[in-house]
Amino acid sequence: MTTIINIVSIVLVLSGLVFFFGAVVGMVRFPDVYTRMHAAGKGDTLSSLLVVLGFMVYQLGRIHGGELMWTDLLVAIKLLAICAFIMLTSPTATHALMDAGYEDGIEPVLGEDGDALSRDQDTRRKGGGEPKPNRTS
């Protein structure tokens, strides 16, 4: 039983490391502030969540494997609190930073749909030229 719990913990921590690797690659290679922030927000949140969940499973396995201590259960609850906290705060921080950057006038790299956040209609399709014929509004 302890072996199964250890394997689950190892799988969770390793998948967290894989997602963090993806976030780091996006952070280095993406062309724009906003795309980098996208990679950072998603990958960082998910990898932190997976790693902390792996530690929580490992801690619960230590409870199961004898010498039942209520402090171990408290540690698992605190790790769950870290999970909830990261899941709340990391997208909030990313959104606040993105808003600050957009209000400050950092120009995004535009695709063919243009700037969807812009308020006037002319600059909204600045990057794309003509919109697609079957997606006209």
Partner: protein, 106 residues
């Protein structure tokens, strides 16, 4: 199991190095802030790693440290976002149509 935690912590630490590159060479200040935010979150995770492999079953102390560190990281990031909000100092060069060219404040 301890060796697995030690080695995955080292892998996490090594994967922070490209973030230091982005923190050093980011074109705008927001890149640096986001990189610092990521490094702070991963440092909170690394505190949990250290607490798990620490001798003497001291995990609770380090988990408290990690929680406080994550809270401070979030508050620092929000304060930086509020500070740069409409302060027009984020981008290295700013050209908005209809306004005169002004030197960028570094």
């Amino acid at each position: 199991m301890n060796y697995f935690f030690i080695w995955s912590g080292l892998v996490l630490l090594v994967m922070m190095i490209p973030l230091f590159y982005r923190m050093n060479a980011g074109p705008t200040a927001l890149d640096r802030i986001v990189a610092v935010n990521m490094i702070g979150t991963k440092t909170a995770i690394l505190l949990v790693f250290v607490g798990t492999i620490f001798p003497g079953n001291r995990v609770g102390m380090f988990v408290d440290f990690a929680l406080a560190y994550g809270l401070l990281n979030f508050l620092g990031s929000l304060a930086a976002a509020r500070y740069f909000h409409r302060s027009r100092a984020v981008a290295g060069e700013i050209d908005v149509e209809g306004e005169a060219e002004e030197p960028a404040i570094e």
